[in-house]
């Protein structure tokens, strides 16, 4: 059994889930985990040690072949069908720039471009994206050759902790091609799918406007 299948729930997610859960749900999960451990099938809430054992074999009858094109490179993978595009990018392709915030399509930290449009990689399965052109923050720019939006984020101090930043930048880059009006209110509306818990919104808007104005005059 591959470790890929478990990438849907990372330890921090599990903790959050457990904190929310009732005692009954908690116990039923423990029951499920022990059942799964004994049958060797896939479980979403298993411990690290079991994950490591299972990761030794990369293929099993529960995985499927998926070919993805990410940042111009083709990858042939054998993954659990449950693998979200986000988990696939992070855990299988080790493109960890795309972040997992809420994992339910509410925060935007996982934003990537699919065929040129920004989408939420946590709300889609990797297996649905054969033939698509996927671009992550790693494909937008690199430290030695940054995208103008990345430069503007640095110059405008458009982040604090940085966790939401790659998603913010992916949205901001896509916004440049979207029918977004010139004023700040419109930018804020177009960026409303990206939450920043540090509250760097003013500077994020400033960075976007800087690039837009630069693009206009340049």
């Amino acid at each position: 059994m591959s470790h890929q299948s478990e990438s849907d729930e990372k330890p921090e997610e599990s903790r959050r889930e457990f904190a929310k859960s009732t005692r009954r749900a908690f116990i039923s999960r423990l029951g499920m985990a022990s059942l799964l451990a004994s049958t060797g099938s896939v479980g979403p809430v298993l411990g690290e040690s079991l994950k490591k054992e299972q990761s030794l074999s990369s293929e099993s009858k529960d995985t499927i072949p998926v070919s993805l094109r990410v940042n111009g490179k083709k990858y042939d993978l054998q993954i659990d069908p449950r693998t979200t595009l986000l988990d696939c990018l992070r855990e299988h392709l080790h493109l960890t720039g795309s972040k997992k915030g809420c994992d339910h399509g509410q925060c935007g930290a996982c934003t990537v471009h699919i065929n040129g449009r920004r989408q939420l990689s946590c709300l889609s399965f990797a297996a649905l994206h054969e033939g698509d052109e996927i671009t992550t923050i790693e494909g937008i720019g690199q430290p030695e050759k940054m995208h103008p939006m990345q430069t503007a984020f640095v110059e405008c101090d458009a982040y604090q902790c940085g966790y939401c930043t790659s998603g913010q930048i992916m949205s901001a880059v896509a916004l440049l091609k979207e029918p977004c009006g010139a004023d700040e209110a419109e930018v804020k509306e177009f960026m409303s799918g990206n939450i920043c818990r540090c509250g760097a919104y003013q500077n994020i808007v400033a960075a976007i406007q800087k690039v837009r104005e630069g693009a206009k005059t340049g």
């Binding site: 299948s5 849907d8 859960s21 009732t22 009954r24 749900a25 896939v42 979403p44 529960d62 499927i64 659990d80 069908p81 449950r82 979200t84 994992d103 339910h104 399509g105 935007g108 934003t111 699919i114 449009r117 920004r118 989408q119 939420l120 709300l123 889609s124 399965f125 297996a127 649905l128 033939g131 949205s171 896509a174 916004l175 979207e178 029918p179 804020k188 509306e189 177009f190 409303s192 799918g193």
Partner: protein, 334 residues
């Protein structure tokens, strides 16, 4: 999340064949079509939906928007919400639809979500989404946690003793006011369903939300030609300015001549268990002068049957004011 198989049928015949053996096309379906996935995958992560088979319809040729010979519009099932909202013919002839879609979710989600997916979008009721809570929609017979629980954002129209869950869609409200027809291909051939008959009231079977049966594939939606000289808009009231579901919303399509309303189509969102067309409000408005008194009378008629719950009584007046204001905006300077 339970594991599943994914198939990608080459054509809609195969897509239908792949789903026709499902036990149900409603809550808890064992076989599901998947397109944008923005609702379904979210619910699968919550174990609210546990399909064993997903039939990927993203590659079927159902993604076109085309004018119909009679001046109406055909919208393919997998047209993304973004493409529908910004399409020149929609902007020109069906402003209410464009505004409704753009008022919902975010750019990222609208880039993924499809026309058909939005039609079958599931409620945001927290009891439905939490498997440790009772919910007659998710688990028939388990009770309704919302009726004496957290119901501030839930429905006041079309509710039952079993369920008070709101239909969360903005697009559906506009579609209701535009009298859209939903075209379905299934095991028994093709049929067209007026949107007013597509969604079901919860009654004693809240797990059944639409008339869809196993194998039924929504292929496209048609809009009738725009009423000559109409003005339409969508007004949405919510707890924050963006990325929030409606507490109350109004889709209005109004034709007025010399300050008199000659035709009105009214639907409301955020208040109903289904997209809430109000023929009562329409009747109150037709042949009336376009003034506040007439708007208020229409709003009273629209909400006459409202049954507020313990926390959402404010919605009755909010919905009325929402409709009155939408009507004002749609008729000013006309």
């Amino acid at each position: 999340m339970k594991t599943f198989q994914i198939t990608r049928p080459r054509d809609d015949g195969r897509a239908i064949a792949a789903t026709v053996k499902a036990k149900t096309a409603q809550q808890g379906a064992d076989i599901r079509f998947i397109a944008g996935g923005t609702t379904l995958i979210d619910l699968m992560k919550l174990n609210v939906e546990q399909p064993q088979n997903l039939v990927d319809v993203n590659r079927l040729p159902l993604d076109k928007i085309e004018a119909t010979p009679d001046g109406g519009l055909t919208i393919g099932a997998t047209v993304r919400n973004t493409d529908l909202a910004w399409h020149p013919l929609v902007r020109k002839n069906y402003n209410v639809l464009s505004e409704a879609i753009l008022s919902g979710a975010t750019v990222q989600i609208r880039n993924m979500a499809t026309t058909a997916g939005n039609l079958v979008q599931r409620t945001r009721c927290v009891y439905f989404r939490d498997t440790s809570m009772p919910c007659n929609k998710r688990e028939p017979g388990s009770g309704c946690g919302a009726i004496n629980g957290f119901n501030r954002n839930l429905a006041i129209l079309g509710t039952s003793q079993q369920c008070i869950a709101t239909n969360p869609s903005d697009m559906n409200v506009a579609m209701a006011a535009l009298e859209a027809n939903i075209h379905v291909r299934g095991a028994k051939g093709e049929r067209s369903i007026p949107i007013g008959e597509f969604h079901l009231l919860p009654g004693n079977t809240p797990q059944r939300e639409t008339v869809l049966e196993p194998g039924d594939l929504i292929t496209h939606v048609t809009l009738p030609p725009p009423a000559p000289g109409n003005r339409s808009l969508y007004l949405k009231l919510r707890d924050r300015m963006s990325y929030e579901f409606a507490l109350a919303s109004a889709a209005v399509v109004i034709t007025s001549v010399n300050g008199k309303i000659t035709r009105a189509r009214i639907a409301m969102g955020g208040v109903g268990t289904k997209p809430w067309r109000s023929t009562e409000a329409e009747a109150e408005l037709t042949d009336q002068p376009a003034n506040e008194a007439a708007f208020r009378k229409a709003a009273e008629a629209a909400l006459a049957q409202a049954k507020p719950q313990s926390q959402n009584g404010f919605k009755v007046e909010l919905a009325k004011r929402c409709l009155v204001h939408a009507l004002k905006l749609a008729t000013q300077n006309a």
